[in-house]
Structure formats: C-alpha cells, structure tokens
C-alpha cells in the first residue's frame, strides 16, 4: 500500500525537478550573486569575490535606489491597486446591469488590450503618448496642445498604459465573482430600502472579498515585475524619473555589467513580492474562519 502511494508520486517528480531547476535555482543563484562583486567584464568577471553586504550598503547610499523603490511603490499602487482593480470592478458592475450586446462589446474591447503581447502593447502605448503620437494629434484636432507626455509626465504615462493593459484581468475576475453573488440577498436588501451604494458597500463587496484579495495579490505581483512596458516607453528616463526596481536591476546588471549590484536590487524586488504576497494570503485566511 505504502509503496503504491510512493509510486503515485513518481509522475510529479520530473515537474518538481524542473521547477527546482528553472524556478528556485535562479532565485537562489541571484541571492548568492548579490553578495559577490560578479561583473560582465574586468577582473571581477574572471574571479568574483565574496563581498558580504557591500552591495546592499551601496544600495542605500546610492540616490537611485531609494528613488526606484519609491517609484515602484507608486507605480504598483496607482496602476494595479487603484487603476486596474477599481476600474475592473467598476466595469464588471456596469456590465452586470447593461444589456447583453453592450456588455459583450465592452468586454471584447477591454480584453483586446490584455491579449496583446507585452511588447506590442508597449509599442502601442509608446505610439499613443509620443510627442507626435495619437494622443497629441487628437488634442491638436480639438485645438489643444499636449505636452511631450513621455518626457514631462513619464510615470503618469506608464501608469495609464499599465492600467489600460491590465484592467481586463480584474474585470474578468470580478465578472465571475459577481455572477456568484446570490440574487436573493440583494433583493432582500432592496426590499429593506437599501440604496444602490449601500447594497454595494454592505452586501456585494463583503460577499466577493476573497475575490478582491486574490485579484489584488495577482495584479500586484504582475505589476511589480513589469519591465518591457517601461523599457520601451521611456527606458527609465528622463533622468531616472521612471526607473522602477526591475529597470534599475536590468540597467545595473546588463547595461553597466555590474551583476552583483543588479542581483542585489533584484533580490530586494523578490523580497518585496514575498511581503506583498504574505499580506494578501493573510487577508484571504482571516475571512474564512
């Protein structure tokens, strides 16, 4: 009996091995490299030395790291937690009330941005916010004159682009969650004279709490890792004004060849993701006694 039980585990062994090899190993290697002075060129490339916490000390004395950490938090809060999450919920709520044709049309339009490969979406956003891009051409048509968005408001442009791209995911999650809300509870509240917003705040939202937490966790982790969108739109500029942690890690490791420092920045990003993940998991657990 016990042998059979072990035999049953055998088929998962390859996938576990592959996971360890391709997922865990790079993470472990990245943590290890962050304590060395590994580099792409120079003496340190041939013979990397263990430097202890040097990279981390440098990180906090370097102006660009605190700025990048702050920009990352602003970017995630504004484009994921506020933008994608709230907009997705709003669209999902409106869709439950609108006619079927309208809701399926809206759904298609929103999902279109989401199914685009990231690089294509990034170029589309670049073409839209560019100085001679679609947005400014539309403004010019109405007699206005737009600024050079990517230069004057780089972070705003990136936040809007990421919101545009990611809202569909939240919308789909909330569409499914709202479909599961029992009709009779809402109807009972309606009979008791609850206003629309009261029903939303006291009935609907508490009922879909677990979906909200799951959604927040997934989009936060996704947004923390956004790189292509930012790299194509602004490459982190001007003067680091849109350099988030993934962009900083890439620049340090591959543009300046400083693998040790780059992986240190990446390690902080991993820790940040784990912290966010833990907080959301906690939220999820508390509501299911």
């Amino acid at each position: 009996m016990t042998i059979r039980r072990y035999l049953r585990l055998l088929p998962v062994v390859p996938s576990v091995l592959l996971l360890l090899l391709f997922l865990l190993a790079p993470v472990v290697w990245s943590f290890y490299a962050s304590f060395t002075n590994a580099a792409l060129s120079g003496r340190a490339a041939r013979d990397p030395q263990w430097v202890g916490l040097e990279n981390y000390v440098r990180m906090f004395s370097d102006d660009s790291f605190p700025l990048a950490a702050w920009l990352t938090v602003v970017f995630v809060a504004a484009s994921a937690v506020l933008g994608q999450n709230v907009l997705g919920l709003l669209i999902a709520l409106l869709m439950t009330r609108s006619r079927r044709a309208v809701s399926s049309w809206v759904g298609t339009v929103v999902v279109a941005a989401w199914v685009l490969p990231e690089i294509v979406a990034a170029f589309a956003a670049y073409a839209y916010f560019n100085r001679d891009g679609t947005l400014n051409q539309m403004l010019a048509f109405f007699g206005g004159q737009g600024p050079d968005w990517l230069y004057t408001f780089p972070l705003v442009a990136i936040i809007l682009a990421n919101t545009w791209r990611g809202t569909a995911f939240s919308m789909l999650v909330y569409r499914a969650a709202l479909a599961d809300v029992p009709q009779d509870v809402s109807e009972a509240a309606l009979m008791d004279g609850a206003q629309g917003w009261q029903r939303l705040a006291f009935i609907t939202l508490p009922l879909i709490r677990s979906s909200i937490a799951t959604n927040l966790m997934l989009i936060t982790l996704q947004t923390l890792a956004v790189f292509t969108l930012i790299w194509v739109m602004t490459a982190g500029g001007p003067a680091n004004a849109s350099t988030t942690l993934p962009v900083l890690a890439y620049q340090e490791a591959f543009k300046f060849g400083d693998i040790g420092y780059g992986t240190a920045v990446a390690s902080v990003l991993i820790v940040l993701g784990v912290v966010f993940g833990a907080v959301y998991v906690r939220l999820l657990r508390e509501q299911k006694p």
Binding site: L7, P11, P14, L40, G42, Y151, A239, F254, F256
Partner: protein, 451 residues
C-alpha cells in the same frame, strides 16, 4: 492500470531531456571543425557583415574541413557589448573570433575573454603593415597584444553648407573658440527658428556616443583631462569639467540643440543622419569620421547631395589655445576568444578577415580611417569620399579614451552628469560634484587626483 501507463510515457521524456543536456558538452570531432564568429550588424551597419561573408568564402575555400558559422548580433553598440559579454561567460557559447570595441579590450582581457596573440602575430607577415599607433589599440596592461584593429575614426563638426549660407555665414566655416560656435548658432537661430543650429549629444540615451561625440570634445579642449596617464589616476574637481557641462547647458537652454526629450531618445542619431541633415533642418553636429558611410551609395540613408552640401570642421579648443582643435578616436578590433578550442584556425580566420582586400573594402564602405599603411595609400581609399583627407588629418589632435577596466562605468557617470544638466535636474556645479563622488566610489580615493 492507468497509472503505470502514464509513468511509462514520462520516462522516455525524462531520458530524452537528460540526453539532450548531455550532448551539448561533447567536443566537436577532429575532422569537421567549426568556427563561431560573432560581430555586430544592424540596419545601418552592414559593412562588416559584407566583409565577414567574403572572409567566410575565402577561408572555407582554403580550409575545406572547416565550417565558419557567422553569428551577427543585431544590436546597438551598448547592447552588443552586453550580449557579447554574456556569451563569453560560458565555454559553450563563447565565440572563436569576435568584434570588440577598443575601449573594452583591457577590461575584457582582465575578465579572461581574450586570447594573447603575440606568438601568432610574430608569424603573420601583414602585421608589419599596421601603423604603430594603431597597434596600441589592442595592447593590454601586461604589454601583450590581444586584438587587431579594423580601422580607426576621428570626430569633427559636420555642417550643412546650404543652411549656414542661408543664415549669412561664410563657408567653409571653422570656429576658433567655443564662443564662435555659440555666436554662429545664435545667428542661425535668429535667421530661421525652425532650424536646429548646433546639436551635441547628451544623456544616457545615446550612451557612449554622448561622451565620444560631444562631451570629450569639450573637456579635452579645456586643458583638463578625464584621466592622468602618468599618475594613473582619475581627475576630479576640475573647472574644465564644470565648464564643459555649462556649455552643453547653454546649448540646450537656448534651444540651439535638439529638445532634451529628443536628446534622450536612443535613436536621435538616426534623425540626425536620416532626416535633419538631408532635409536642411540641422545646421551642424559633432559626429564621427564614419559619417559619410550613412549617406554614400548602399548606406542606410542614401543622400546623393551630401558631397556638395556637407562640410567638415575641426572642433575648436575653448579659447583657441594650442593645438587649436580636439578630436576623439576609438575604433573596433577583431579578437580571438580565450576559450576557443581551435585557436590556431581562429587566428587564421582573423588574418583572412583583415587582409588587404577585406580591410580596404571595410574602410571604404564604412568610412573608416585605415590602420594598414598599404590600404591608406590605395587610390580607391583616398577617393572613397571627399572628406577622407580632412578627417584623417584630425589624427594629429586626437585623444584616446583611458581604456582601463574602470572606464565603462566612468563613462556612464559622465553621461549621467550631462543628462542631469540638460534636463535641468542639476546645475553644472552640482552635476560635476556628483560625478566626482561617483568616481571616488567607483575607483577608490587612492586612484583619484584632485585638480
């Protein structure tokens, strides 16, 4: 019964995976050798690709048992360097022969990527044809040669004669001081505000181009320098550094150059060569001696009128002091990988790619300044474009970058300083102070010289 069946289907897959990873490390058999050649190619730079194709044919004809695998990397200079370095980290991906920027030679020798060529060069007759100054490009700190130059370059002011004449400026134009540049630029702007009067690159977007085709022309004309070759120390706190940044600030603040937003676009140089000069929207810029390669037949931005319309001038020193002008030189080399399993053959391929015929083709098609004396005296080289003589003469006033292992990061620090100044984030004084602090952090206080 179903479970054992599934298990049976998984096993071969695992076995195949293991076999696939095991195979990749077996060495190639002795009879059929392959050489892996890595170099840069882009839509605006195909001259080297053409030379490599020719060299492959020539080499394979002479060595029938050898296959030459050309693996061009499509990237700009910065990304090319990164991709090359990544490939060199593992013996499985390291190339046998590769295209290498002169300023990375010492750093990459330190990293153990390049093979020492002294013993091979001794037996190579053509080596005596290379001019002595050019040979230095491939010399590392230990005194040995690790790379062979393909060509070199210089930097000058390229200006559109028609645009200058329209603004009432006499051509040929040769500014004597920085002030001359500014007064001419202001005159051009006054006569036609839609023209960009005098562009100089700045910021991280244009990468090494920012320092080679802009900042160093200023800095080396102030009697200051980036690095003291005698003391082997980096110079900080110099007035010349601050003044150079201030000059860029003036250009950008008075809108004599492009807008800061355009300057930070990594592709701004494509507009310079492809749109603004041919369309008469740009009066002048600082660029390399390879400039005609973009416009000549087969170039990325063919422009038949460039021979009549364009002029070239030496970049002046700040107050016109001796030697009267500044230029910067760099250039690229071919090197053999230290991990090459067929070093002898790899060098033979390098020698084929750099023989007189191929070197001549490359220098002409890419507007390079020849480093082989037999190519330099060839009539087809001298008549390749009307500017060969002018840009070759700049070798007299040229400077080379300090090719130490620290250099690439110092260069980035300079680019950051220019970006801070033109975007208005910092004053020239603050940006220079931050540069000083960065240099101290990078190389340590004992390798810094206050001046």
């Amino acid at each position: 019964m179903r479970r054992p069946m599934r298990f049976a289907t998984v096993l071969p897959v695992v076995a195949a995976l293991l076999a696939a990873t095991a195979c990749s490390s077996t060495p190639p058999t002795a009879e059929n050798k392959t050489l892996k050649i890595v170099y840069q190619k882009s839509d605006s730079f195909t001259a080297l690709d053409a030379v490599m194709q020719d060299a492959k044919k020539e080499f394979e004809a002479a060595n029938s048992s050898v296959t030459v695998n050309l693996e061009p990397i499509q990237a700009n200079d910065d990304d090319y360097g990164t991709k090359l370095a990544l490939a060199q980290r593992s013996p499985d991906t390291a190339p046998d022969v590769f295209y290498e920027d002169t300023f990375k030679v010492r750093s990459d020798v330190d990293a153990g990527y390049l093979l020492k060529l002294d013993s091979y060069l001794e037996k190579w007759d053509d080596w005596s044809k290379f001019n002595e100054a050019a040979k230095e490009a491939g010399r590392a700190d230990d005194g040995s040669i690790y790379a062979v130059p393909l060509g070199t370059d210089t930097r000058a002011i390229w200006y559109n004669k028609a645009v200058l004449q329209k603004a009432g400026i006499q051509v040929p134009w040769q500014p004597k001081t920085w002030e001359d540049i500014l007064s001419t630029a202001r005159a051009i702007k006054a006569s036609d505000p839609t023209v960009i009067p005098f562009n100089m690159y700045a910021g991280k977007g244009t990468g090494e181009g920012t320092v080679m085709q802009s900042f160093y022309e200023l800095l080396y004309g102030t009697d200051s320098t980036l690095y003291d070759e005698k003391e082997k120390k980096w110079v900080v706190g110099s007035q010349g550094f601050t003044d150079s940044l201030a000059f860029l600030k003036t250009l950008y603040d008075e809108k004599l150059a492009v807008s800061p937003a355009e300057a930070l676009d990594a592709n701004v140089w494509k507009k310079v060569f492809g749109e603004w000069f041919p369309q008469g929207k740009l009066a002048a810029t600082v660029e390399g001696s390879y400039t005609p390669s973009f416009w000549q037949k087969g170039g990325a931005y063919e422009w038949a009128g460039y021979e009549q319309d364009m002029g070239v001038a030496m970049f002046p020193t700040r107050n016109g002091q001796e030697p009267g002008g500044v230029s910067m030189s760099g250039g690229w080399t071919l090197a053999v990988g230290a991990k090459s399993k067929n070093a002898e053959l790899a060098f033979k391929f390098l020698a084929t790619a750099l023989n007189k015929k191929n070197a001549l083709a490359f220098d002409v098609n890419n507007s390079q300044i020849a480093v082989r004396t037999d190519v330099a005296s060839e009539s087809s080289y001298l008549s390749a474009n009307p500017f060969v003589k002018d840009v070759s003469e700049l070798v007299k006033v040229t400077h080379y970058r300090p090719a130490t292992a620290d250099y690439p990061r110092i260069s980035t620090a300079v680019q950051v300083a220019t970006e801070s100044v033109i975007t208005g984030k910092q004053s020239p004084e603050d940006a220079a102070a931050e540069y000083d602090a960065t240099v101290r952090k990078l190389v340590g206080d004992d390798k810094v010289l206050e001046r």
